[in-house]
C-alpha cells in the first residue's frame, strides 16, 4: 500500500509538465480528455500513452519544444469540449488540438479545428463520421466499422458460423458495431437470428442473456463498453452455459481486456474477439512498448486508449519533422496524409483521402498460455480501411 501511494505521488508530481521554456520556441498541444467522471480511466490510459511517447522520444522536435496543456471535459460533454477548444486556441494559442476519447466531444470540437485551421489529432473517438467534420482532423485510433465489418466476414468465411445472435449496448458505438458486423456477416452469406440492445448503464445482464439462451443460437456477437461490463456480461453468459465450446462467442476487444479476463477466469477460454491492438502480440517493438508502459504505470498494461495516444504523438512528432517545425494546420495535415509507420500495434498508415487510420485487424482467441489467459492472434487481415467513408 505504501509503495503504491508513493508511486501514485511520483506520478502526480511527474505530471507537472514543464512550461518554462521561454527561451526556446514551443509547439503547444492542447489535450482535451474526460479526465474526471465515468470515462476518467480512458483519459488516464490515453494520457499515459502520450507521456510514454514523450519520455521515449524527448520533448523536442525540429528544434522546438513540445508543451502539453491538459483540459478536462468531465464526461461526455460536447459543449464543454468545444469551449475548451476555443479557449485553447484564443487564450493558450495552441498549435495542435489532440486527445478526444469520446465521439460527441470530438464532433463538438471539430468546428473549432476547421475555423481556426488547426491540426486536430483524434486519439480515440471511434465513430466513422468524425474525420469528415473538419479538413484538419486525422485519426490514429480505430473505427468501429473498420474492425467489425472485416470480423463479420471472417466469422462466416473462416469462423465457420452460419447464424449469429447479436447483443449490443444501446448507444452510438453499439449500433455501429451491430450494423457493421451484421453487414459483413450477411454479405458473406450468414444469417442474423436475433438482435437485442442493452441499456448503456446496465447493471444486470441476466434478462438479456436469458433471451439469448431461449433463442439457442449457434454463436453470439456482443459489443459493450469497456470497464465493468465485459466481466459482468461474460459471467452472466457463463452462468447460462453460453460460453465456448457450447456456443461461439464473438466480440470486440474490450470484452477480453486483462481485468475482464482475470475476473471471468476459465470461462473466458475460446472467446473470439477482433481488435487493432493486441497486448500479447509477440513482436519486439510491442514487447518493448508493453514493458516500458508497465514500468511507468505501476504495472498496469496498455490498452486501446494508450496505443491511440502513443501513435497520435508519433504522428504529431513525424509531421512536425516533415514540416520542419511549421505548425500551420495546412502544412501539418499535408504532412500527415499518407504517412505510414510501424507501431507497437503493427503496420499502420493514414489514408491520404479520408485522413483516417488504415491498419491490420487482428482476430484473437482466448487461450491459456503458461497458465495465464491470453488473447492469442489466430488471424490477421492487413490494410483494412473504414468501410463507411465514401460509401454513403
Amino acid at each position: 500500500m505504501l509503495t503504491r501511494t508513493a508511486a501514485a505521488m511520483a506520478l502526480v508530481l511527474g505530471l507537472g509538465w514543464s512550461s518554462s521554456a521561454f527561451a526556446q520556441e514551443t509547439v503547444k498541444i492542447g489535450v482535451i480528455l474526460p479526465y474526471s467522471g465515468p470515462f476518467a480511466d480512458a483519459a488516464n490510459q490515453l494520457e499515459a500513452g502520450i507521456k510514454l511517447y514523450m519520455q521515449q522520444n524527448g520533448d523536442e522536435v525540429a528544434g522546438k519544444k513540445i508543451e502539453i496543456i491538459r483540459k478536462d471535459t468531465g464526461g461526455p460533454a460536447p459543449d464543454v469540449a468545444k469551449r475548451l477548444a476555443q479557449e485553447l486556441v484564443v487564450r493558450d494559442q495552441v498549435d495542435i488540438l489532440a486527445g478526444f476519447a469520446l465521439t460527441p466531444e470530438a464532433l463538438g470540437a471539430a468546428d473549432v479545428s476547421a475555423e481556426a485551421q488547426k491540426l486536430m489529432v483524434v486519439m480515440n473517438a471511434a465513430t466513422s463520421v468524425v474525420t469528415e467534420k473538419s479538413p484538419y482532423i486525422v485519426r490514429t485510433s480505430v473505427t468501429i466499422p473498420q474492425v467489425n465489418y472485416a470480423f463479420g466476414k471472417w466469422a462466416f468465411e473462416q469462423g465457420g458460423v452460419k447464424e449469429v445472435y447479436t447483443l449490443v449496448s444501446d448507444y452510438g458505438p453499439g449500433h455501429d458495431a451491430q450494423s457493421s458486423f451484421s453487414k459483413g456477416f450477411t454479405e458473406a452469406g450468414g444469417k442474423i437470428v436475433g438482435a437485442d440492445k442493452t441499456p448503456v448503464a446496465n447493471p444486470d445482464f441476466s434478462a438479456f442473456v436469458q433471451r439469448v439462451k431461449d433463442a439457442n443460437p449457434e454463436a453470439v456477437y456482443v459489443f459493450i463498453p469497456g470497464g465493468a461490463q465485459p466481466a459482468a456480461l461474460g459471467k452472466a453468459l457463463a452462468d447460462r452455459g453460453l460460453t465456448p465450446p457450447n456456443v461461439k462467442l464473438f466480440g470486440q476487444g474490450e470484452l477480453t481486456h486483462p481485468e475482464a479476463l482475470e475476473s471471468m477466469g476459465e470461462t473466458a477460454k475460446g472467446i473470439i474477439t477482433t481488435y487493432h491492438y493486441t497486448l500479447e502480440r509477440d513482436d519486439p517493438l510491442n514487447n518493448e512498448y508493453v514493458k516500458s508502459y508497465r514500468e511507468a504505470n505501476n504495472g498496469r498494461s496498455p490498452d486501446l486508449f494508450s496505443i491511440g495516444g502513443y501513435d497520435g504523438m508519433h504522428l504529431i512528432y513525424e509531421s512536425l519533422k516533415k514540416t520542419n517545425g511549421d505548425t500551420g494546420g495546412d502544412a501539418l495535415i499535408e504532412a500527415a496524409k499518407g504517412m505510414s509507420w510501424t507501431s507497437p500495434r503493427g503496420p499502420m498508415s493514414i489514408d491520404p483521402e479520408t485522413r483516417d487510420v488504415v491498419q491490420t485487424v487482428y482476430i484473437r482467441e482466448v487461450k491459456e498460455v503458461d497458465g495465464k489467459l491470453q488473447n492469442v492472434i489466430i488471424h490477421e487481415i492487413p490494410d483494412v480501411k473504414d468501410p463507411l467513408h465514401g460509401a454513403k
Binding site: A8, V12, P38, A40, T198, D204, S206, A207, Q210, S263
Partner: protein, 287 residues
C-alpha cells in the same frame, strides 16, 4: 415458459437483494434522523475498496473480506457522523444535500488517488462460481449467495428492531424523538449506532456488488440513483419497505428487459413515478 419465468424471477430477486443491502441503511437513517445522506453510496464504495484491498493486497478469503468491508464502512461513518454530520441535523435539507454531495466528490477523488481509475476485480472462491442445477433450472451460485446474505440481514434487522432493547430504543427515537429523550434515552448515541449500522450495510453491499456490477471511483454517484429509488419506493424508515421495494424493482427491471426489451430501460423509472404518485410515502411509508 414456466421455467423461463422462474429464472427471470430468480435473477430479478437476486439483483433486488443486492439493491436492498446497498440501500436499507439509507432508508433507516433518513427515516430515523431525517438526514439526507447522499454520501451513502460512497460508503458502499468504501466497503468495496476495503474488500478489494483485503483480498488482493492481504490475501484474505472472500468471507473474511465481507465483514471487514462492513466494519470499515461502519467505523469511518461513525467518525464522520460524530465530527461532521451531526452539525447538520438541525440545518435544512438542502444544506445536507450540498454537504453530502461534497463528501461524495472528496471520496471519489481520494479513491482515484489511492486506487486509480481502473475497474477493480476480485476472484471469488471456487464454490461461489458457476451455477447449480435446481429442479431443472440453472441458478447462478453467487446469486443464491447474495439472496441468502440479504435474507439473513433482513431477519437480523427485523429481529433486532422488534425483539431487542436497542431495537426498542431505536423505534422509540423514530416515533418521537422528544419524548424518547425525555424518558432518558440517549438519542444521540442511538443515532450514532444506527448510522454506523446503516453505513456498514452499504459497505457490505458495495463488497457484494463488485462481482455483479464492478467497482470504480464513480460508484458513489452511479448507484445513488438506484438507492434513492429503492428508498423512496419502499418508504422511509421501513426495513420491510426496502426489502419489498428492492425486490419489486429488481424483478420488474429484469422481467421488463426480458419480456419487452424495447422499453427495458424505461420501466424502472415509470414504476417509480407511478408508485410515488399513487403512494407518495412509498409502499410501506408511515409518515
Amino acid at each position: 415458459m414456466i421455467s423461463q419465468l422462474a429464472i427471470v424471477l430468480f435473477d430479478g430477486f437476486a439483483f433486488g437483494m443486492l439493491l436492498f443491502v446497498l440501500s436499507v441503511g439509507l432508508s433507516v437513517t433518513l427515516g430515523l434522523m431525517n438526514f439526507i445522506n447522499l454520501a451513502h453510496g460512497a460508503f458502499g464504495m468504501l466497503g468495496g475498496y476495503v474488500a478489494v484491498t483485503a483480498m488482493r493486497g492481504l490475501g484474505w478469503p472472500f468471507l473474511a473480506a465481507l465483514p471487514a468491508a462492513f466494519l470499515a464502512a461502519a467505523g469511518i461513518s461513525v467518525l464522520l457522523e460524530r465530527t461532521l454530520f451531526r452539525r447538520l441535523y438541525k440545518s435544512g435539507e438542502l444544506n445536507q444535500v450540498l454537504f453530502t454531495i461534497g463528501v461524495v466528490f472528496v471520496a471519489a477523488a481520494l479513491a482515484t488517488y489511492a486506487f486509480g481509475t481502473v475497474q477493480q476485480v476480485i476472484q471469488l472462491p471456487a464454490w461461489l462460481r458457476g451455477s447449480v442445477e435446481v429442479a431443472g433450472l440453472r441458478l447462478g451460485t453467487y446469486r443464491i449467495f447474495i439472496i441468502a446474505v440479504a435474507l439473513a440481514i433482513t431477519g437480523l434487522l427485523v429481529f433486532g428492531l422488534e425483539r431487542t432493547r436497542l431495537g426498542a430504543r431505536i423505534r422509540a427515537a423514530v416515533d418521537n424523538q422528544r419524548v424518547a429523550q425525555g424518558l432518558g434515552l440517549d438519542v444521540e448515541k442511538i443515532f450514532a449506532v444506527t448510522f454506523a449500522l446503516g453505513s456498514g450495510l452499504a459497505g457490505l453491499g458495495g463488497a457484494l456488488a463488485i462481482e455483479i456490477v464492478g467497482l470504480d471511483p464513480s460508484f458513489g454517484f452511479h448507484y445513488l440513483v438506484y438507492v434513492l429509488i429503492v428508498v423512496s419506493v419502499g418508504g422511509l424508515g421501513s426495513v420491510a419497505g426496502s426489502f419489498f421495494g428492492a425486490a419489486l424493482l429488481g424483478i420488474c427491471d429484469v422481467a421488463g428487459k426480458y419480456f419487452v426489451p424495447e422499453i427495458g430501460s424505461f420501466l424502472i423509472y415509470l414504476l417509480l413515478v407511478a408508485i410515488l404518485f399513487v403512494r407518495p410515502l412509498g409502499l410501506f411509508g408511515k409518515r
